[in-house]
Structures are given as structure tokens and as C-alpha cells.
């Protein structure tokens, strides 16, 4: 068992190159045990690549990646479960067949637990996977992932292409199990609002790199929005703390990552909103390297 000091997930200098170029580069990330972390970023940011690397579907081009203290290998870690974006399951299997497949393919398998999750989801055991709705298939895929009794659960866009009701069901099941077991979760999404209520940790991926990562409370508490006269921006706000600055001819609105900064009497300080903060970091991440240092 991994002890508390060992991160559940740790990437150092991780990179993966495809024929078309780097999908992920220079990615370093630590996720402490017990966190429920959201991995957010626009489409093509490298979220799926990072998760595929974590579960051994891809080999890293450079750098290292460890889960639950062990180097990731081709064979999936027995205590790590993965739920892929399109929830691919054998279409011609019945729900009962899928549960048997889970039992047959895993040494560590909690059959009564998986069966209970399937029952709770109201899935008819003789229905074929191909006939299930998107929401039902997600519930089945989640039951199969949880049936492995993971200590680290990786979910790739678990809510994409689900209707709002199904989203709520899937999220509620997931969070109930997380609360009960204390497992670490890393779930990716390109929609921030899906997950801010349920997650306590945030990783923002943009342009194949980690733009910002940390506890959500720390992140929000570590940023401030300053509004003040545009002409004082260069002199009163140190360039190295600026995440993003927007100016009109008179007024500057600046997101800074130094909460203690007090530029002067002409400036008003607001709490930062998580969504603004994420978007600001993402916009900064999309700039070419040379322009990344704020002017």
C-alpha cells in the first residue's frame, strides 16, 4: 500500500510525441493521495494523452510517470482503474457478460460490489451493451472500473455526451464511492462547470503543458483581480506576478498570482473567480514561448 507521503500520481518531465508533433511536453505534476482532481484544458491540450500514459496504454517519449509509487508499465497497475472517453465495451456482450469479463480479466475484482453498482443503476443484466443508452453505458463502465477496487481512478471526459440527468447520476455514483473509499481521482473535462463542485484539486493543461496546478482553494486564494488606472500598470504591478492584463485607454484589469500585492490607493482588489483564473492561464498557455513572459 502506498503511504501518505507518496503521491498517487507523479509525472516528471513527461513528454509524448506523435507523428504530427508533441501532444504533451515537459509535463511535471504531483497529485497527493485522496484528492479529487479535475484535469481541464481545451480539446487537444493533451488530457487524453496524459491519462493514456498514466494507465500504460502509451509509452512516454521522454520523462517518467509513476502511479501509486510504481513506474507505469505496459500492464495496467492492479490498483489503478481507467474509464475511457467513449466508454468502449464489448457491444455484443450482455451486462452480465461484461461483469463476468471484469472478473475474468482482473485478479483484484469485487464481484458483489460491481453487481450492486449495476443493480443500483437499474441496468437489466440480460440487455446487450449495444442496446444501452449513453448514460446506462457510462454507469456500466463506471461499475466495471470501480469493481477493480482502485486506489487511483482515472476518468477521461466521463461526462461528455451525456444528458444533464445522466451527468448527475454518474457524478453522484462516483462521489458516493469516493467518499466511501477515499480513493484518489483524476478526471478530465473540457467543461469546467461540470466539475468545480465536486473536485478539490485542479490541473490546467494547455498546449501540451501544465499551466497551473494545485488545490482549488489555494488557487483561488492565491490569485487576486486588481483594477486600477492603466498608466500605473507598468510601474505599480510587477510584471512577474501578472497572469493576464487587459487594458482599455484608462483602466487596467489585472489577474495576479500574489494575493498580498497592494499597488496603491488608486487600485481596487477583488477575489478571483475560478473560471476566470483557468481561462487566463489557458490563454497565456496558448501564446508562443517567447511571449509567455508578460510584458
Amino acid at each position: 500500500m502506498s503511504h501518505a507521503e507518496e503521491p498517487a500520481f507523479e509525472a516528471v518531465g513527461l513528454g509524448r510525441r506523435y507523428r504530427r508533433g508533441w501532444a504533451l511536453r515537459n509535463c511535471s505534476l504531483r497529485l497527493p493521495v485522496g484528492r479529487v482532481a479535475a484535469l481541464v484544458g481545451p480539446n487537444g491540450a493533451g488530457k487524453s494523452t496524459l491519462l493514456h500514459l498514466a494507465v500504460g496504454l502509451l509509452a512516454p517519449t521522454e520523462g517518467t510517470i509513476r502511479v501509486l509509487g510504481d513506474e507505469v508499465r505496459a500492464r495496467a497497475h492492479p490498483r489503478v482503474a481507467f474509464l475511457s472517453q467513449d466508454k468502449p465495451l464489448y457491444r455484443r456482450f450482455t451486462v452480465a457478460d461484461m461483469l463476468s469479463a471484469g472478473a475474468a480479466l482482473n485478479e483484484r475484482w469485487d464481484a458483489p460490489y460491481a453487481a450492486r453498482l449495476v443493480d443500483d443503476a437499474g441496468l437489466p443484466s440480460r440487455a446487450r451493451v449495444g442496446t444501452l443508452s449513453g448514460g446506462q453505458r457510462s454507469r456500466l463502465a463506471l461499475a466495471l472500473a470501480l469493481g477493480r477496487r482502485p486506489e487511483l481512478l482515472l476518468l477521461d471526459e466521463p461526462l461528455a455526451d451525456l444528458d444533464p440527468l445522466a451527468r448527475r447520476d454518474v457524478m453522484a455514483t462516483l462521489m458516493a464511492e469516493v467518499a466511501e473509499t477515499g480513493m484518489t481521482v483524476l478526471l478530465s473535462s473540457h467543461v469546467l462547470t461540470d466539475i468545480t463542485e465536486t473536485c478539490d484539486h485542479l490541473v490546467v493543461l494547455g498546449g501540451g503543458r501544465v499551466q497551473v496546478a494545485g488545490g482549488i482553494d489555494d488557487l483561488v486564494g492565491g490569485h487576486r483581480v486588481l483594477i486600477g488606472p492603466a498608466h500605473q500598470l507598468g510601474t505599480h504591478v510587477p510584471a512577474e506576478v501578472v497572469v493576464e492584463a487587459r487594458t482599455t485607454s484608462r483602466q487596467a484589469t489585472v489577474l495576479v498570482d500574489d494575493p498580498g500585492l497592494a499597488p496603491g490607493p488608486d487600485w481596487v482588489k477583488h477575489d478571483a473567480q475560478l473560471e476566470d483564473l483557468v481561462l487566463a492561464h489557458l490563454r497565456r498557455g496558448q501564446l508562443p514561448d517567447t511571449e509567455q513572459v508578460p510584458a
Partner: protein, 317 residues
């Protein structure tokens, strides 16, 4: 893992076995029909060393021919495509369908190693059908036995590939090659198409190589006498027959310059031939050649499986 592979592919395996079983039953019926025809026509015991005994009922041979020779001519043409057809249709989708439906993202993230996944999928599907086709090859050989005199030797291309053990070997090779192509291309149709093309190149090539695998037999006799059972046993695959001069050079007689009455051997002698030479694969080479060719197919199939193992280990999802 075995159960999952079986559950995934049981339809393909069972329908392949069903096809083989149906053909097998048809062949049993053929043999029964042939033996009863031979009995009914009074031809029992007339087929000595592959030739009709001249003392047997006149006209009976042509009746037997009418009944069975067209069947015997298309049967090997039909059977020869069976191993490759089953091989690519079962082997092509074996793992390619997982990639097409993206279920490898599920399978490969459970606690089953990649090598084991590849090996078990191939074994669970490939073994039963290989055994079925090995059996079918033996049944084909058994079913055509009574009609031996009507059909060319089983060393001839067509029968050689559809009797004995090579059908099983060819199926295994087509199956493993198509499975490998499916793994590399991740596309069922591409794997099937390329598998068929590879087979269409391979089978004629092997047929052309067959005479060079073991030493052929060469005999010489007086012109006009070599093609008798004394020199060339029934069931041989004759590769070449020709006249030779005293110096051992080939003689191709010009038959328009022959004297009367026409006799090709006499004519050849008039034009310098002193002997007639035949080169053939003797019937005793049938089983050694079967074993060699089946062994070669199994070895190539093993190479395909090994390449597949290297490919699955590459971890490109």
C-alpha cells in the same frame, strides 16, 4: 481471459466449425455414393494400381466418369480457397475489431498482460478451426480414394493443397497473418484484403517450389514405353516427358514429317531419338511433402504471431 476471448469470438468460431462440418458431411456422402456406384456398375476390383482392368464391364468407366468427374474437377478448386477464406475472415477481425470499436482501451487497462491477450485471442480462435481443417483434409483424401482413377494424382496442384495436412497449415498461416495485419493496420477490411492478396501469391509459389523440395525421379526407356506403370508408378506427378538422342540431347520430333502408319515413337526414332525420358515426383513423396509444407506454414504462422507480440508490446495504444 480465455472466457472473454471465447465470448468475443464464439460466433466466428462456431460458424467456421459449422461450415467445415457441413463440407465434411458432404464428403462422406460423396464417398458413400462413389462406393455404391462402383458396386452397382460391377467395377469392384477393377481399379488395379490406378488403371481400369481391361476385363471389366465395357462402358462402365464412362458411366462412372459421367457421374463424378465434373464434381471431382471443381471440388479441389472450391476447397483450395476454404482455408484462406476462413483464415482471413476469422483472423482479420480478431484484434482489428477491438481497435475499430476502441474496446482495446477497456481490455488493455484490465490486469491482463498484452502478450497474454494476444496469445490467448489467437489460440482460442485459431486452434479449434485449425484442428477442424486438419481433419477435413484427411476426410477429403479418404473421400476421393474410391474415385482415384478419375482424378489426377493427389500430388497434382489442387488436390495436394486440399488433402492431407496442408489445409490446416494454410488456415493457420492465413489466420495468423491476417490477425497480424489487423493488429498493424487496425482495420478489418484492410487485413482481409491484404491477407487474400498474400495468399494468392503464396499458394502458386509453393506449388512451383514443390518439385524442388525433394529429389525428383528420372527414368529412361525405349521410345513409347516410359509412360507405363513399370517406369512411372500410378499416382506420380509427371513434370517432364521427352525423347533423347544418343548424345542425351532432347529431341522434339516434327510430326508432319512422319511416315505411315503414324506412330509418334517410331517417328521420333526416325528423327534420332534413342530413348524416352520422364521426370516425376513419386507417390511415396506425398506424405514427406505434406509434412514439409505444413511445417513451413506453421513456422511462418509462428513468425507472424511473434511479430504481433513485438507490435503489441510497443504500447501505441
Amino acid at each position: 481471459m480465455t472466457w472473454v476471448a471465447w465470448r468475443q469470438h464464439r460466433t466466428a468460431v462456431l460458424s467456421s466449425l459449422g461450415v467445415v462440418l457441413l463440407i465434411g458431411l458432404g464428403l462422406v456422402a460423396l464417398r458413400l455414393a462413389a462406393t455404391s456406384s462402383i458396386r452397382e456398375l460391377g467395377l469392384t476390383g477393377c481399379l488395379r494400381d490406378g488403371y481400369f482392368d481391361p476385363g471389366c464391364p465395357a462402358g462402365a468407366q464412362s458411366v462412372l466418369e459421367d457421374r463424378f468427374s465434373s464434381l471431382l474437377s471443381w471440388l479441389p478448386q472450391f476447397l483450395i480457397v476454404l482455408p484462406v477464406l476462413l483464415g482471413v475472415l476469422v483472423g482479420g477481425p480478431l484484434v482489428a475489431r477491438e481497435f475499430e470499436q476502441r474496446t482495446q482501451l477497456f481490455t488493455l487497462t484490465q490486469s491482463v498482460g498484452r502478450a497474454r491477450w494476444w496469445a490467448v485471442e489467437a489460440a482460442v480462435v485459431g486452434m479449434p478451426v485449425t484442428v477442424a481443417l486438419l481433419t477435413l483434409g484427411l476426410v477429403v483424401g479418404w473421400a476421393r480414394e474410391p474415385l482415384y482413377v478419375l482424378s489426377p494424382t493427389r500430388l497434382e496442384s489442387g488436390w495436394f493443397e486440399t488433402t492431407g495436412l496442408v489445409m490446416g497449415g494454410y488456415f493457420l498461416l492465413a489466420f495468423c497473418a491476417a490477425a497480424l495485419l489487423g493488429l498493424v493496420l487496425r482495420n478489418t477490411v484492410g487485413a482481409i484484403a491484404l491477407g487474400v492478396v498474400a495468399y494468392l501469391v503464396l499458394v502458386p509459389a509453393l506449388s512451383m517450389l514443390r518439385p524442388h523440395v525433394l529429389d525428383t525421379t528420372v527414368v529412361s526407356a525405349a521410345p513409347g514405353t516410359v509412360m507405363t506403370d513399370t517406369y512411372v508408378p500410378a499416382g506420380s506427378r509427371v513434370l517432364d516427358v521427352g525423347y533423347r538422342s544418343a548424345a542425351g540431347e532432347p529431341v522434339s520430333p516434327r510430326y508432319d514429317q512422319c511416315g505411315e502408319p503414324f506412330n509418334p515413337a517410331t517417328c521420333a526414332e526416325e528423327q534420332g531419338a534413342v530413348s524416352e525420358r520422364a521426370e516425376f515426383i513419386p507417390p511415396s513423396h506425398y506424405w514427406p511433402l505434406q509434412l514439409i509444407e505444413t511445417g513451413l506454414a506453421i513456422a511462418l504462422a509462428a513468425v507472424a504471431l511473434l511479430l504481433g507480440l513485438l507490435q503489441v508490446r510497443r504500447r501505441v495504444i
